[in-house]
Amino acid sequence: MAYFIAKRLMQSVVVIFIVSLFTFLLAYLMPGDPVYAMLGGDITQEQYDMAYKEMNLDKPIYLRYVNWCADLIKGDFGKSYKYRMPVIDLIKTRLPVTMYLGGLSIIISTAVGILFGILAATKRGKILDTVITFLANLGAVMPLFWLAVLGMSLFAMHLKWLPSYGFTFPTEDFVKSVRQTILPVIALSVGAIASTTRQMRSSMLEVIQQDYIRTARAKGLKESRVISKHALKNALIPIVTLTGMSFRNVVSGSASIEIIFSIAGTGQLLVTSVLSKDVATTQACILIVAIVVSIANLIVDISYGYLDPRIRIQ
């Protein structure tokens, strides 16, 4: 297992290195002069030259990459020229927000998805299965932004039950936090619930056909015990992969959700910085998100060990 973790860690490091290259190039290839991005259109030549030097744009690209990497290793993600503050401070305030929303959404979607999946699989062909499968299909085709907007228009604008914007951590004001997070989290979760449900249903159906389930039944176990003690853990293995992948989707989704609900999180920061060509922030955001995704995948792979002793004991 230690070897396994070490190997995965090594892979993650390589992946992050490639991502850093991607990120750097991506930001570099974006059209538009970063000086204009920073200072706007109406600038004098002096202003331009001053900024050009300040941003190290006179150095060759590979040198800039090496410098950038060297700074990264020192923990220096550069300075955002939009926010005029170290990117790392910016991300320190943004990442927890997205992680909180995303984490909540992943927990909810996984729990609900697993439950729905089991229900649908065990009631295969019955009404409940049909209803759940239909809803899961619907959830999978519902554009995220669309759902968020519909939700806001109904619950905030018309019914006025929930606030239409903002974010508060539950440690600050629990009731406010819950009210503010309901809509964004639901919007973020629907797609994941749908895919988890579909995956869980089919992996459960697959597992139920396995030999060891037949063995369990042949031992005289109750059907409920066969499902809960023998089938569930096996069926969960593919779900873990899905949960790992949903980290990436959560950040993707949070971009529009955070913008729609005026939440200052990483997703919003990502989009803002790309559109305003805030190079340092863009690079740091992608890199950090990639690191988070990689760590999530690492955790997923380790949790395989918990679920599947064949990996744990090698």
Binding site: Q11, I18, V19, L26, P31, N137, V141, L144, Q199, R248
Partner: protein, 290 residues
């Protein structure tokens, strides 16, 4: 289902469709897809108005007998634009997925078959692509490539490549050391021959399923990108862009935002259901993994 050297008999095709449409829901999905494909093909004949004809006096007009779904900001007929939007969505969905499948299959085939360092490099690059949030990737690429249909197809295609590469290399790995591939080596067949003549055809079932599913996914992604403003070039009609235009007017003119949104959902739903059905027939083991 085709095999070189033999023509699939008509009964075989009939059997395939019989199995495919055994579940009623699949018929529903197929009908959805067919309706939209027909709408796209026959757009010039069935749309009641010129989708590009602007009439500023009718800006944001409510639905009327003349314009059943009302008019957009430029006073263009929304219904006609939705019909033309089907063209955009389908064309982008199809071509982007073709690009993705083409690159992904090739990379996956090479990675899976050659293994070793090649596989490691390709896998890591794909991992890296996979760990960048899709929206970021599309946004970044979108800004680099600029707007328009072609670049949309490329962007959406590139963003989907890892899915195919992974599926393909997993498939190849599974059959690379199977007896019939060994048999080919024993016969003295070259690697190229083995890869393209023997491995590739045997990996196609899940690819076809993924392909169908992905068309839906790509249409959704196109909508999201259009929503972000990185859509097709004006004045081309796109559902995503129409939702984008319409959604902030949900209060005053709900039809404008709801209609294209519902179209996206229905078309994607159609492809998903069809993909589900195809998978059940072609490769039931894949259930859930795609």
């Amino acid at each position: 289902m085709k095999s070189s050297g033999t023509k699939p008999s008509t009964s075989k095709i009939r059997k395939f469709f019989k199995r495919l449409f055994a579940r009623k829901i699949v018929i529903f999905g197929a009908v959805l897809v067919v309706v939209f494909v027909l709408a796209a093909l026959l757009a010039p004949y069935i749309s009641p108005h010129d989708p590009y004809k602007q009439n500023l006096k009718l800006s944001f007009a409510k639905p009327s007998a003349q314009h059943v779904l009302g008019n957009d900001e430029l006073g263009r007929d929304i219904f006609s634009r939705i019909i033309y939007g089907a063209r955009t969505s389908l064309a982008i969905g199809f071509v982007a997925v073709m690009i993705a499948a083409g690159c992904g299959i090739l990379l996956g085939l090479v990675a899976g078959y050659l293994g070793g360092m090649v596989n490691s490099v390709i896998s890591r690059v794909m991992d890296a692509l996979m760990s960048i949030p899709a929206i970021m990737l599309s946004l970044g690429l979108g800004i680099i490539f600029g707007a328009g249909m072609t670049s949309l197809m490329i962007i959406l295609g590139l963003a989907t490549v890892p899915t195919y590469t992974r599926l393909m290399s997993a498939q190849v790995l599974a059959i690379r050391n199977s007896d019939f591939i060994n048999a080919e080596r024993v016969l003295g067949a070259s690697n190229i021959r083995i890869m393209f003549s023997h491995i590739l055809p045997n990996c196609l079932s899940p690819i076809i399923v993924l392909f169908t599913m992905n068309i839906g996914g790509t249409i959704l992604a196109e909508a999201s990108l259009s929503f972000l403003g990185l859509g097709v070039k004006a004045p081309m009609a796109s559902w995503g862009a129409m939702v984008n235009e319409g959604y902030s007017r949900l209060i005053t003119n709900p039809v404008f935002a709801l209609a294209p949104g519902i179209c996206i959902m229905l078309l994607v739903l159609g492809f998903n259901i069809l993909g589900d059905g195809l998978r059940d027939v072609l490769d039931p083991r894949l259930r859930g993994s795609i």
